[in-house]
Symmetry: C2
């Protein structure tokens, strides 16, 4: 990930590494011991380098095209996984409610596997955003139209809710279509799917229309 | 999950709970303190009950129909998530290589959210199993036929590989078709998807044919 970051537009202040120094970054690199790396890393098993970077400013939201929106997703692993999915499936714009876990939480960054560099992510008041948004807003619910029968308009939002409570009450008026991943087969007792998994399955179905 | 287990065919030896006793299970229940529950639980935030159960014997493998097979999936969270997916998408038979993480690892059981009660799971030598299997074996790879153009025969196996190494060399001769989740859009740098996520997206695409 450090290798990717130094090639990106993110401003790198300092690199701490136990191994060889990256070409062109000698002046801002410190060689450190593995013990020191373990002390400054938040991982149990850190790799070989840590970069100290400047958090970039958010870019303006591109409100055309397909947007993925998250309402209060709290788990860092879920947010990181969803950013990786967005990158995989070519979703360039992600918007998060103000209550969504911080993108720069180290667990989120780690779980993105570098994908945070390639997806534009904005934190907004979703209610205010939806007030000014004119395209369809598809919301994922336990009950809704079968995703396999849903049209996914090119200009639209897919809104995913909080792990425990789903999409918040105050956003319901903005949902133009409730959608749902149908269960299949005899067993109908499974309670729910994790929000990142549900996002993956819905996005997988959405892009299937382009192949 | 304890509520589901006591209704299942699994033999329950003892229940330890901080709350009310389940009807009909008074004789095998001990009321304990929250402190005691935290001591015996492997969770940081245990709920209110733990059941001590007998591990049931494996049922014979049903080799007709659709089977999900795992080659050396090591992460307990991944196995648990995949069992939950199998349950959601009506896959009744899961077979795991002997090197796959133990189903009865507490983290696996926890991640299944009870779904382990509804999916038949067998640990086998996959090579021996495939030697005697006559239907198609679809294997998930980084390069393979686009899943959105793949036929998923009703009698077939979907084989998913290890987190780091994919499907092992010794099983390659049994793969009748390599399949792959295509990336979409401008960014083509995402390295891979997590094995549980890939399983979810492929299974989601497979069942889409039935709706």
């Amino acid at each position: 990930m450090v290798k990717e970051v130094i090639k990106s537009q993110i401003k790198v202040h300092r690199i701490y590494t136990t191994e060889s120094v990256f070409d062109g970054f000698e002046e801002i690199t410190d060689l450190i011991s593995e013990k020191e790396l373990r002390k400054i890393s938040q991982l149990v098993h850190p790799n070989t380098a840590i970069a100290l970077c400047e958090i970039p400013e958010e870019k303006p939201i591109r409100s055309d095209g397909f947007i993925l929106a998250l309402d209060d997703v709290r788990d860092p692993g879920n947010l990181g996984t969803i950013i990786r999915l967005a990158d995989w499936f070519g979703t360039e714009q992600l918007i998060c409610s103000k209550e969504t876990v911080d993108l720069y939480n180290p667990k989120v960054i780690q779980a993105t596997m570098g994908s945070f560099l390639r997806v534009s992510i904005n934190y907004v008041d979703l209610k205010v955003f939806f007030d000014n948004y004119s395209h369809p807003v598809l919301g994922a619910f336990m009950q809704g139209e079968n995703i396999y029968h849903t049209d996914f308009p090119e200009n639209s939002i897919l809104l995913m809710g909080n792990e425990a409570n789903g999409i918040s009450q105050k956003l319901l008026p903005y949902i133009t279509q409730k959608i749902s991943i149908p269960k299949y087969g005899r067993n109908q007792q499974t309670e729910s799917l994790n929000v990142a998994m549900a996002t993956g399955i819905i996005m997988g179905e959405r892009v299937s229309r382009y192949f």
